[in-house]
């Protein structure tokens, strides 16, 4: 029996040409899913002159729906206005699963709501962490609760993110999977890494580690947007002290933001122009070239759901010094990182330790790239996402997907589409909010019936598919029984489960 393939629509406000983590996540995941034989389309709003349908690499189809953008590429939240065009697209493309990304994207929330009304399976991926205290978070959390109370499954990028999402939206923890981000290993190679052709010929020996002498200059790289929550204040305070304690060090700082002026002021006050280089904003393609100029990557962020950039840095063969916040402690093994508390003194101390260790040659950074490549790959992410699709569509049984603990509401975690059951789920959202949400859902359903009558399904053309790739050989079930970790440095060996 061949593996089942799906027609998937990724919906998010955030997509190329805008740069960012969510954007590249969607693109890479879609691309790998297409490689595995699925059909994937992306629905986003229009960017400037980009309207209508576009094709990207690999037959990835992008619908740029014209919508009013209000703030940082997020569209104006109109609860129902997206429905007609979404229905049209879904019927035209024969979509089975709607996969939304980003908790600040109203397009994604609307799509999930309407998809449930149309009887499609839905998945939501959360990429960010939210607090519970401020007014904006409270509003976002309520909205998230509304949307996620009827979603089939959620995906979070780290375990901390999962805890946060479970609390924010009052979810059943078993209905939330943790699937990390990944990096494209080929784009983040270290400086002296042999290219593929060289490797294939097998001539080149393993690059010998070049030990750093006591007078060699150690370069510390910082690439981040210079905002408060990225910890630029800590950076501003720590740089002069680090440079003072360690004579042969220098900094390269890339990125822009409101805190850049503080950094520049610090440089001028301490006369550090020759030891701190500020590059300004750089493009994502250039990140690797900047990273390979350094030895240590410093990441002083105050909150981070996953921290793809530290994985990229490690993949480039940099030793990582980062603050122990959010999901960061889960991301990299301890021989690649030094953790610091988000305090000036601790960051100075941790960076000092890292510099000393680098000089002593204790850190074998040349192995980082291959290790990171084994840890994080997009095809693995796609495989694990596919298992989620299998689970919600019933391809793999509920017992297998959720374990034996199959006691959600009504003894099942499968979310059925009966309106009364959906209303029950929404009603539990709160005393007032529950009733309001129910009202929304009822109106949405009536709107759906109206659309069915006004634009009958039969009148909507079915578009032809891009030729599909043959499904990959490994089945989704195998993805869980992954091969044991082969790395010699890792002490954790995972026994293989035979089934």
């Amino acid at each position: 029996m061949g593996r089942k393939t799906y027609n998937i629509a990724m919906v998010s406000d955030f997509f190329f040409p805008q740069p960012g983590g969510v954007e590249s996540h969607i693109y890479q995941l879609s691309s790998k899913l297409i490689d595995r034989g699925h059909k994937v389309i992306i629905i986003t709003h229009s960017y400037d002159d980009r309207k209508g349908v576009r094709y990207l690499n690999n037959g990835l189809k992008v619908y740029h729906v014209p919508f009013l953008v209000i703030y940082r590429a997020a569209t104006f939240p109109t609860v129902f206005s997206f429905f007609p065009i979404l229905r049209n697209i879904c019927i035209r493309e024969q979509i089975e699963i709607v996969h939304g990304h980003g908790s600040l994207s109203s397009l994604c929330h609307e799509a999930i709501l309407h998809a449930r009304t149309m009887g499609l399976r839905t998945v939501f991926t959360d990429h960010s962490l939210f607090g519970f205290a401020d007014a904006a978070s409270i509003l976002t959390n309520k909205l998230l609760k509304f949307i996620l109370s009827d979603v089939d499954h959620s995906i979070c990028v780290s375990h901390t993110c999962k805890e946060n999402t479970v609390l924010r939206a009052s979810l059943d923890p078993l209905m939330v999977s943790v699937i990390p981000n990944a990096v494209v290993g080929e784009n983040f190679r270290p400086r002296d890494y042999p290219t593929l052709s060289e490797k294939g010929e097998g001539f080149r020996a393993e690059p010998s580690p070049r030990p750093l002498g006591p007078h060699d200059v150690i370069t510390i790289v910082v690439i981040s947007r210079l905002f408060y929550n990225k910890g630029t204040d800590l950076l501003t305070a720590a740089i002069p002290r680090i440079l003072e304690n360690h004579p042969n060090t220098r900094f390269i700082i890339a990125g822009s933001g409101p805190k850049a002026i503080d950094l520049e002021q610090m440089i001028e006050t301490n006369v550090l122009q020759d030891r701190v280089e500020m590059l300004g904003p750089i493009r994502h393609e250039d990140v690797r070239d900047v990273m390979t100029r350094g030895h240590i990557y410093l990441h002083p962020s105050l909150t981070e759901a996953f921290g793809t950039v530290i994985v990229e840095a490690a993949s480039c063969g940099l030793y990582v010094v980062c603050t122990q916040v959010g999901g960061i402690p889960e991301v990299l093994p301890s021989h690649m990182t030094t953790f610091a508390k988000p305090e000036e003194d601790d960051i100075v101390a941790a960076t000092g330790k890292a510099i000393t260790a680098m000089r002593a040659g204790k850190i074998r950074t040349e192995k980082f790239h291959d290790e990171v490549k084994k840890m994080y790959s997009w095809s693995n992410v796609a495989m694990r996402t596919e298992r989620v699709y299998d689970g919600i569509c019933g391809t793999i049984s509920e017992e297998e997907f959720y374990g034996f603990d199959t006691t959600g509401y009504n003894g099942s975690r499968i979310r059925d589409f009966a309106l009364i059951d959906r209303l029950k789920r929404y009603y539990g959202c709160g005393i007032w909010a529950g009733k309001l949400f129910c009202l929304c859902v009822v109106v949405d359903y009536l709107f759906f019936l109206f659309l069915e009558w006004w634009f009958p399904r039969e009148n909507i053309d079915i578009c032809r598919d891009w030729p599909r790739k043959s499904p990959a050989k490994d089945t989704a079930q195998d993805s869980m029984k992954v091969a044991p970790n082969q790395r010699s440095t890792s002490s954790i060996r995972v026994p293989k489960l035979d089934r």
Partner: protein
């Protein structure tokens, strides 16, 4: 080969007893977020009995450890668990509920709420006085004469208190510097950095309890001798009490001399008498602020140039005799008072005709709103040092008095009411803050007086004046009612607030943005 039942082990049974005794537990477990019905059938009676359930859990985990690797909260490890696996032991273990909850006590809360009561009473006193003038029951001149006299008395009292307090602080700062001068360089640098970082913090009382009746700020300072520096340094920033600057001989000479001459730490100070000629402090705060920061960079940056430069600055400070300076300032205050007086006198005719084209109803409504704004936006937490803190509040009150004054028929009345409003809304709060700061007893007496006065006034002006009734009878009635209302309001609201604390549920966890701790933030910005 594991059977399906063995596979179950990573999903141990949750006991869904939804007893959320929030205060007993420090963190949530998964079923706090998601409550679904009890599953008696699955758990058997295990769910009912928490102990047996725990044992069940333990069994499960030990069995699973034998069978597989324990689950780890890491993402770079390839684990043999599904992605949606939820580990019972570690899930949400870092969650904290109400981490910094400080339960309120009833009486301190009531004592603190008297500040609000005082303000409301003084606002109602103002309204009563306006009504009195408007109905021509009170002669405006006598009212303003009395209030001006009271203001003058208050000013003199305030002056005395401030000077007393300064003397105390001098002693503390001298001892604090003597203590801190012997400490290491880094600690001194830190204290200085701290003093620069928080320039406007003033010594303010944290809790007004009946037991701590008088608590001068010196106590707070003396408890931390190394921070004595900062406390003193801060005071220089307060422009309102300018004379504070002059009588602070110890601090600057010591901060500048201590890096070089630590062998005689207390020698440059003879702080006990305020007329000491060694009071070498200049009132130029920018220099005094910049100098320690330069010194700090010099200290750890090893830049002797800067240090020398800063020591060159010291001799420029000319010693100013303390008493003369104080006199000078008093004269300045009197001068500005006369200036305000004359300006008001000149403005009164304009104010009188300001709202002639507006109907009285609109004026009443508007002044009501403005006074409400004044009450709601007033800075009740402001310490003694707060200058004119809530500008919105004060401006609203002055505007209310202006529009009210424009209803009055004669220029004299307009002038008197405006002057009175400046005294009530501008100066009286300063005095009240100082009383509260000095002693709780005086504060309580002032509160009672204000409540009684406001009650009496409201009682009297409630009815039109007529010859055949005694105003004191209604006045007494008003007093009784006002005392009752005050007691109910403060007691009831405090009780209510304490009751509401039960519903407080603040969730903190690793997802919250960390608060960076930066020791030397301001060093670069000055």
């Amino acid at each position: 080969m594991p059977s399906p039942t063995d596979d179950e082990t990573p999903f141990p049974a949750l006991s869904h007893s939804a007893s959320l005794s929030a205060l007993d537990r420090s963190h949530l477990s998964p079923h706090d977020a998601f409550t679904y019905p009890l599953r008696q059938a699955y758990d058997g009676d295990g769910a009912a009995d928490p102990l047996s359930h725990l044992r069940h859990l333990k069994d499960d985990r030990s069995r699973s450890r034998r069978r597989k690797r324990a689950w780890k909260k890491l993402m770079w490890v390839k684990q043999s668990y599904p992605d949606n696996y939820t580990d019972q032991a570690t899930f949400l273990e870092n969650l904290q509920r109400n981490p910094r909850l400080k339960p309120y006590d009833f009486w301190p809360l009531v004592a603190d709420s008297t500040v609000i009561l005082q303000h409301v009473c003084s606002v109602s006193l103002f309204v009563v006085c306006f009504v009195g003038i408007y109905q021509e029951r009170v002669s405006p001149v006598s009212l303003v004469g009395g209030s001006t006299f009271a203001t003058f008395l208050g000013w003199i009292l305030w002056e005395r208190w401030v000077s007393e307090e300064m003397n105390q602080e001098e002693e503390v700062s001298a001892s604090g510097i003597a203590a801190s001068a012997t400490k290491s360089e880094s600690i001194r640098r830190r204290a200085r950095a701290a003093s620069i970082r928080r320039p406007i913090i003033t010594p303010r009382i944290t809790s007004v309890t009946p037991s701590s009746s008088s608590r001068p700020s010196s106590e707070a300072a003396s408890s931390r001798p190394s921070a004595g520096n900062s406390t003193v340094n801060i005071q220089i920033q307060i422009p309102e009490s300018e004379r504070l600057r002059t009588s602070r001989p110890a601090h600057h000479s010591s901060t500048t001399t201590s890096p070089s001459s630590t062998n005689s730490p207390a020698s440059p100070t003879s702080p006990t008498s305020p007329t000491s000629p060694t009071s070498s402090t200049s009132p130029i705060s920018p220099i005094s602020l910049k100098e320690p920061s330069q010194n700090a960079t010099g200290a750890d940056g090893g830049q002797p140039l800067l240090r020398r430069a800063s020591s060159d600055v010291i001799p420029d400070f000319a010693p100013i005799p303390n008493e003369a300076n104080r006199l000078h300032q008093r004269l300045g205050t009197i001068k500005s008072a006369i200036l305000i007086y004359c300006t008001l006198l000149g403005l009164s005719p304009i104010l009188k005709s300001l709202t002639q084209s507006t109907s009285s109803d609109s004026i009443w409504a508007m002044s009501l709103w403005l006074l409400a704004i004044n009450i709601f936006f007033f800075d009740y937490s402001g310490g003694v040092g707060a200058k004119f803190p809530a500008s919105l509040s004060t401006n609203a009150a002055l505007m209310a008095s202006t529009v009210l004054a424009s209803r009055l028929p004669s220029t004299k009345q307009v002038f008197c009411l405006t002057l009175f409003s400046i005294e009530v809304f501008g100066l009286f709060p300063v005095f009240r803050r100082y009383v509260q700061h000095r002693s709780f007893r005086q504060h309580a007496i002032l509160t009672v007086l204000l409540i009684l006065g406001a009650g009496w006034g409201v009682g009297v002006v409630m009815r039109e004046p007529s010859p055949d009734y005694w105003p004191w009878k209604r006045g007494l009635g008003g007093m009784v009612v006002s005392v009752l209302i005050a007691a109910i309001a403060t007691g009831g609201c405090s009780w209510w607030l304490i009751g509401l604390q039960r519903y407080k549920n603040e969730i903190r966890g690793p997802w919250d943005p960390a608060r960076p701790i930066i020791m030397s933030r301001q060093r670069w910005e000055n």
